[in-house]
Structure formats: structure tokens, C-alpha cells
């Protein structure tokens, strides 16, 4: 475990910043934001063969790196003033990478550290949730994220806890939702969709990372990253359905959601784990359903004070994503009911 090393003040603008997990959706957004801010971003990822495809047209420096290996990390971090941990993967990988990073950071005290955590750490908390709230997430993903934070405790790392990171190209919170809306499997969820949607545009998360690197006062803080207004999920889903032409929006009764989560989701999830998506319908898992009903709003005031980055209103960002989705997948077949 790393010792409590003092971090240096904010990074210089042209500094080399390594992004671990740079081939992922979140990592790419951070790389873009860093480049725009004048940093020299370096994408570090396990499988360099994936890089050209996943990086799209962005032209960043790539480094192959096994983030679970402290020595490999130290090699990649040599000469870097900052590192951003955006590693995504299974629970064991994320935790191992965080521990390795803590170890590497102990040996490189001048390297500033930003860790991308998640709102999942708060578990099923409700109401306005500040950073001081207990970390009670119990899912495997949440438990892993909590363990990652614990591994980096004392390193002076800035922990960013974003809501749901979405944006054009984001399959999890744009592509998947739109596909389910288009299939009529999501829509107006009634009482089951009264939860708050804490969307964070990937571009805004990138801006938050840049702001965190610039502000020495952010060191050692855990900071929620969310928009100041979290719309209800029903509002998001209805807007989303309209934006891609999946109208009239379906009203999903409770019994159908029950069937989705209890009957269809477990086998679908199991098959996809084993064989990949392969054109199979996406499962509406119990955790996804729970999210739609969770009345949680991330308290954004600390982020306002320490980071002050610009934020995209969620419904505006949703429209942007719908444009991407239509361009990529085509518009939905409109249905009507006349009687």
C-alpha cells in the first residue's frame, strides 16, 4: 500500500498525462479533453492492437501497458506529470490496477493522480448525496469501485465519482437505451421510472479531469461529477424515444418489467457473458431496473467549488446522442394507433 505522499500543485499545460484505460469510451473522452486543454495525452491500454480501431480518428500516443503490474506502470509513467486511472474491466482487474497504481505512485510522488470512480459506490442511497455519504454499494462493480478508492487512499489522488457517463458513441448509456426504446421494451416506466438520471456527458467528465489537474486544492478530495439538475428517468426515456422517432412512446406496465428482469434477463445475461452479444436482445437487468427507480441526486456543490467545469444539460446531451444513434443505426419505425 502506498504511503501518504504529498502531491504537487496543478500540472503544467503541456505536461505528459497518461490515461490508463485510454481505449475505452470514458478514456477516449478524457484523452480528447486533455489534448484540447494543451496537455500531451498518452493512451495506455492492455492490448495495443485494439488501439487504432477504438481510437477512431484521434491521434494520440499509445503505450501498451498491463495496468495490474506496478513495474509496467512505472515504465509508462516515467516522465509523466499526471496519470488518470480510467481502467474498466472485471472487478479483479479494476482493483488490481488501482493497487498497482498506488504502489507506482508511492515511488513517483511528483506524479499527480486522478482516479475515475463511480456513483455506484453510494449503493441504493436516496435523496441528495454528498461525497461524505457512506459507501454502501454492494454490487460486484460497486464493491470493486469502493476497493479501488480504498487502495488509493492516502496517495493524494483526486477521486472523481461521476454519474452515468454518456455521450455520442457511448454504447452503455446511449446505444443500449436507444435500442431498448426502439424495441418498445423501454418507454414511460410510470412509478418504476421516477428515479433520477445522473447523466454526465463524457465531454464534461473530460473537462472535470482537466480542471482537477489544474487545481492543487482538489488533491485528496473525492468529488461527485454530475449535472446540477438530474431529470427523472421517465423524462429522459420519453425524450429519448421522441428523439429517435420511437413513438408513440410505450408505457411499460410493471408486469412487463417483472418479466424482463426476472424471466428474460438472467438467461440473456448468462448467454452474453459466455458468447458475447451476437445480435441477442439486451437484458434489462434487475440492477438497471433498480437504477431507474433510484431517487438519488449527486450533490454537485463540491465540484462547483473545486472544479467549476462547464456541464451539458442532460436532455441536450441526449439529443446529441440521438443524432449519433440515428446516424449509426437508422431511425425507428414509427407506430401509431388510430381507432
Amino acid at each position: 500500500m502506498a504511503s501518504g505522499a504529498m502531491r504537487l500543485p496543478g500540472c503544467a499545460a503541456d505536461e505528459r498525462v497518461v490515461v490508463l484505460g485510454g481505449s475505452g469510451f470514458v478514456g477516449r473522452a478524457i484523452l480528447r479533453a486533455l489534448a484540447e486543454a494543451g496537455f500531451h495525452p498518452v493512451s495506455a491500454h492492455r492490448n495495443p492492437r485494439l488501439a487504432p480501431h477504438s481510437m477512431g480518428s484521434d491521434d494520440f500516443e499509445h503505450q501498451a501497458c498491463n495496468a495490474k503490474n506496478p513495474e509496467a506502470l512505472m515504465r509508462v509513467l516515467r516522465g509523466a506529470g499526471c496519470v488518470v486511472n480510467a481502467v474498466l474491466g472485471d472487478a479483479a482487474t479494476m482493483v488490481a490496477a488501482s493497487r498497482a497504481l498506488a504502489e507506482a505512485a508511492a515511488a513517483m510522488p511528483a506524479c499527480k493522480l486522478v482516479h475515475i470512480s463511480s456513483m455506484a459506490v453510494y449503493g441504493n442511497a436516496g435523496g441528495l448525496v454528498a461525497e461524505s455519504a457512506p459507501l454502501r454499494g454492494s454490487s460486484r462493480y460497486a464493491a470493486a469501485k469502493i476497493a479501488c478508492e480504498a487502495a488509493l487512499a492516502g496517495t493524494g489522488a483526486i477521486i472523481l465519482r461521476p454519474g452515468l457517463v454518456y455521450g455520442p458513441g457511448g454504447e452503455q448509456w446511449a446505444g443500449r437505451l436507444f435500442r431498448l426504446l426502439r424495441a418498445g421494451r423501454l418507454g414511460d416506466l410510470g412509478e418504476h421510472g421516477d428515479g433520477r438520471c445522473n447523466f454526465v456527458h463524457a465531454r464534461d467528465l473530460g473537462a472535470a479531469v482537466v480542471a482537477a489537474l489544474h487545481n492543487p486544492l482538489a488533491a485528496g478530495h473525492a468529488i461527485n461529477v454530475a449535472h446540477s439538475s438530474a431529470p427523472r428517468w421517465n423524462q429522459v426515456l420519453l425524450r429519448g424515444a421522441r428523439a429517435i422517432g420511437a413513438v408513440p412512446a410505450a408505457r411499460i406496465p410493471g408486469w412487463r418489467l417483472n418479466a424482463e428482469t426476472r424471466l428474460f434477463a438472467p438467461p440473456l445475461y448468462a448467454v452474453q457473458k459466455l458468447a458475447g452479444r451476437r445480435g441477442l436482445p439486451e437484458p434489462i437487468t434487475a440492477s438497471l431496473r433498480g437504477l431507474f427507480a433510484q431517487d438519488i441526486t449527486l450533490d454537485h456543490r463540491l465540484a462547483d467549488r473545486l472544479l467549476g467545469f462547464g456541464r451539458t444539460p442532460p436532455l441536450q446531451g441526449l439529443a446529441e446522442c440521438a443524432g449519433w444513434f440515428i446516424e449509426t443505426y437508422g431511425i425507428a419505425r414509427q407506430q401509431g394507433l388510430l381507432f
Binding site: G126, G127, R251, L337, L338, F339
Partner: protein, 555 residues
Amino acid sequence: MIEDANTLESGTRLETDLCIVGAGAAGITLALQFEHRRERVLLLESGGLRPERATQALYEGAIAAGSPHPPLARYRRRVFGGSTQIWGGRCVPFDPIDFETRPWAPGSAWPFSYADILPFYENAAELCETGEFAFSAPAAFPAGMQNPLFPSGLDHFSETSIERFSCPTNFAARYGRRLKAARNITVLLHANATEICTTADGSAVAALSVKTLAHRHLVVHAKNTVLAAGGLEVPRLLLVSRDRHPHGIGNANDQVGRNYMTHIAGTIGEITLPAGAPRPIFYQRAADGAYCRRRFALTETAQRELQVGNFIARLHHPRLHDPAHRTGALSAVFLAKPFIGFEYASRLHGQTRLSIAARVAHARNILGDLPGVAAFAAHWLRHRTLAARKFPSLAVHPRHGRYSLDFHAEQAPNPESRITLTDAYDALGLPKIHLDWRPSEADFRTVGISLAALASDFAKSRCASLHYDPADVAISVVRDGAYGGHHIGTARISLSPRDGVVDANCRVHGMKNLFIAGSAVFPSSSQANPTLTIVAMTLRLAERLMQKEKEEVLF
């Protein structure tokens, strides 16, 4: 959280910041506005989570001899969610003219304009789950609404007005989970407010007496109290509260319970479409999923010109009892009357008793139209019974191609149409109410003149022909009884206590901390069903209460 008053000890004293009496559309809406705020809210509900006969019987009362008003325990529910448990879901906003001073409609003006309530309608539409606040066909259907029956350019009627339908949303089922989860809100079931006790000078509520049918007696002390128990129970509670107000609270000028309005509604005439005209469409779903229906709305210009009240009409299936429609589905619905709830059956069928010959004719209709009956049944099962957003009503095209006209008109305020207390008492010891609903000549005139204008517009545009017997107008107004469920005007808004019960902020005249939410405060009834405006007005009240908190630091 949700608790039961019967689990509390008699004599329990409950302290709260805001006490709301009645957990129906208004009460639940108001409580939700305080969700996650610091004020403590106590929402009193007379009923439980499910209907109970003994509780529902507390609604019983007397009706004036010969009045066509339905029994007082009908068309409303004394249960968590209130009458949203049975409402039809039709949502329509009031019109700007409803708020104005109209010389031909004395006593109907509001002390504020439509613009004052407009900002609250959007949120109200969301709470009622009726989609966007878009009540014209072009706004709701930018690509065009399909209905060839409606030409543009009628002289007296707008062809673009639409009504939207809620799921219909049962507010208890829809929002109960949120109320239960809110730490600052307590829903107290089986808690009947039986008397409002005032301070020594009578200018504020000191306590609320609460009883249960299991003989618990509680006392509520609230900084602010809102009565949201509906247009019949609110005046009752005001009238029985006489500790320092000998005529009841807010009743120094004998205004409580007066001007009771419903709507002037009925079905009349026969509409025939031109030969070869495409079949009209009853309902179309908007992009947000809500069912929408076009109607003929008497324009504000026409109302001024004709000096009548507000009026709308819709295309309707022919009256079911007459088997001449030759339509199996309509006959099947008619014969299924015993299996349809009172509130729905009454409007569908009226009180008609049928001869054996007519019954045989209905049976013949069914046997001769089995595919039509099967298609109707399948549609009903899929889009009504199993659907979360339900198909709003019976919408069947008659085989003979002749429809009827369903109208829904404003009832003018009439001080003699009123609620008083009787000498009979309910199980809680409260005097029962006596209801004397009186439509006036002005109401019959509104319907008669509007129908004539519509027939004239139809004839001129040649889009359809409307034939009806003018002598039948008065009969059609009262044939199905007073429009159930719309209890309006019994604690009306007024600038002066001489003319009403509450001020423009819905605060009872002369009382510092007593407010009323719901259609009891409406000074006019409009053509619109009241629920959407009840919710909008409640949102407005919530804003006023929060403002009051800021200004007076009363919470």
C-alpha cells in the same frame, strides 16, 4: 412513510409544519412538492390502502327531492388516492375566457387571469401523466392529426382543440412509493378530520380534531393546514367547525357550500356523415404516448357573440339502448351493464329499462356481428384491460353510420345550488350533507344555443349533418343525472369575503393558516374536466406556501 391512525393511542398529539386533509389528486400533489424538503408534512387520509365499505359510507348524505344528482357516495372514493382510483383520465385545461369577467355570466370571474395558472399546467400534465401540455392538434401533432371529419373554418367552433387522457393515473399507486420513501412526509391512513379548532380570536387554526372509525381521537397541531378533501367534504368540514365561528369557518357571509357546480353534459341527436366520407377517428396517440381526441370547442369569440357559457362537443357512438345501431359490440356492452361499475354504466346506458323485444334485438345484433364483437373484445383486452396506458373509452363505429353528439358545457354559478348540513349524523358524529344541485336557465341556454350553432356550422361546411330535437335539450341535460365526480365551486375564490370563501392564494378569508386545494375553490366550471386544473392550482398553492415560508418564516 405511511402509517395507520388506528395504531396510535387516543389522545396522541401530532406536530407538523403542514397538515393536508385528503390524499386524492390535490393532497398527494401538494405533499409531493415538499418531498425531500425540510418541512414536515402530515397527509391525513380517511380511508386505507383499499376501499372499505364503512369508510365509504361516511360520504352518504341526502339529495334534494327530485334532483337528478347521483348518490353522494358515488363518483368519489374515500381511500388513499381518492377519486383518482376511479376517474376516467380526461385532461383539459381551462380556457383564458373562463377567468375573465363575462357580463353574461355573473359571478364567474376569477381574481386572476389564465396567465397566472398557465406556468403550472405543464407540471400538472406531467403529474397526471397526460403527456405534454399541448392541447391543440397542431401543437400535439406537428405532422398533422388524422381526422377527416373536422374541416377548418367553422364559424363558431374550433376544430383544433383536443383533449388528452391520463393512463388514468391512480395517484396512490403512482406516487405512493415516493410518499412512503420521503422521510419528511407521513401519510396517516384512517384519519378523519372532524373539526377545525381555531385560536381564541378565531383568526387561525389552532388544532385539527381527527377521529378514526375505531374510536381513536387524535389532535394535529400544524403551522399550516390545507383542506384537500374534495368539493363536497371541504364545505362540510368548514360548516361543522363552529367553535368560534357560529356559522362555520369562512362562512360569515353565508358563502360556504353555495354555487355548487358540476358540468352540463349529455348525449343528443344524430350525426350523419356525407356519403363516401371516410370513417372518423376517435382517438390518436401523441408521440408522448397519450391518447388524444379532437372535439368541437365553441370559440371565445362565439361565446362573446352568443353570450353563452363554455361548451364543447364530441362525436359519440349512438345511445346504446336502441338496438337500431345494429352494432354487435355496442349491444354487447349494453347487455353487459350489470358487470360494469356504477360510475361507468350510468354514463354509458343511463337509466333505461329495456323491453324483451329490444333485448332480443340486441342479441340479434351480437349474433349478426360476431367478428365485430370479437375484434372489439380483443382490442379492449389488449389496449384497455392489459395496458398500463389504457384506451380511454368505448369507441365503436356504428354499422348504420349514424353517430350521436356528446356535449360537455359549463354550469354557471348559482347561489341556490348548494350544500348544507342535515340533522342526520355519520358514524363519526359529523352532520351529513344535503345537496341541492340546480342547473339554471343560463345552462340550458348555453347548451341550446351552442347546439344550434354547431348544427349550423355543420350544415354550412357540409362536413356532417346534425339533427336533434331542440325540445330534447333539457331532457338530455338531466337524463343521465348531474355529471358525477365534478364537485366545483363550494368554497370559491373571491377578492372579498362577501363573494366567496378563499382569497386569490386559496387562503380562507380571515384565516392566517388555513388553505383549500381542489375544485371547491373554482369560481367557474369551464367546459373542462377539473382534475388537470385541480393539480395545476395545487402546484400554484404549493408555491404560495413555500413563498409564505420564506416571507413569514412560519414553518
